[in-house]
Symmetry: C2
Subunit: 147 residues, 2 copies
Amino acid sequence: MNFDPRLLKDCEVIGKFKLCYVLLMRDANYPWCILVPDREGMTEVFDLSGDDQHQLNTESYALLEYLKKEFNADKMNVAALGNVVAQLHIHHIVRYKTDIAWPAPVWGAFPAKAYSQVELDQRINRLVKGFSTLNLDFHVTQEPSDR
Amino acid sequence: MNFDPRLLKDCEVIGKFKLCYVLLMRDANYPWCILVPDREGMTEVFDLSGDDQHQLNTESYALLEYLKKEFNADKMNVAALGNVVAQLHIHHIVRYKTDIAWPAPVWGAFPAKAYSQVELDQRINRLVKGFSTLNLDFHVTQEPSDR
């Protein structure tokens, strides 16, 4: 899978569900995951085949529900924008009434806040453990030592 | 169906597909439609039943594809945020590389630009005609004279 370099610059690739890679945005302001369908040349959700659309929705809804519960979100934000990075990717963002940008959308609101290496490893390990319970064929694609 | 009053303040209710009402945002900066599932008390897409999730996706993807083609969009933006208006609603926004906010997301970027009454009627009539071709049981819920 060829990722747009800007996705790799801003995110950690955690692993893959049946259809989509799941990435963690390197922004400690919000638990923020991105799904990237493992299909080349897609820019809109409706570019996917019917089966892939169905699978994307299954993975997206399960991810939203998991993140909301795991992180006690006040609200989930989900969006496919792609104005800057055209490669199809779908944001899944945990929002709190106390977060830095609330109630505004997160894009462009504040600069990303860096995770410490310990925080990042903890966050990824927590997600890996959770994703493995979702019945979506999750597997890790990069060992932590490869990051 | 009880709409959040802020949706009615900012939007025209155009009609209804099988599951969702379709609204036009009163912002002439972008062709911008909103789907509101005809279900009370929903705030997240995963609050919907499995059948309703499937129907929402059918309507959302068809709407995106129609809007992209009809308005020659450079990119479609689709999002469920709900930080301000909790009632479940999904934005479908036509974006151009030449629009006022590009490439930023539209929310909070610029004040809404008013449609003239003539422009608004033309825009709604065009959408009504298009929606009727989508095989989604579209029907108008308010005659123009009732608006």
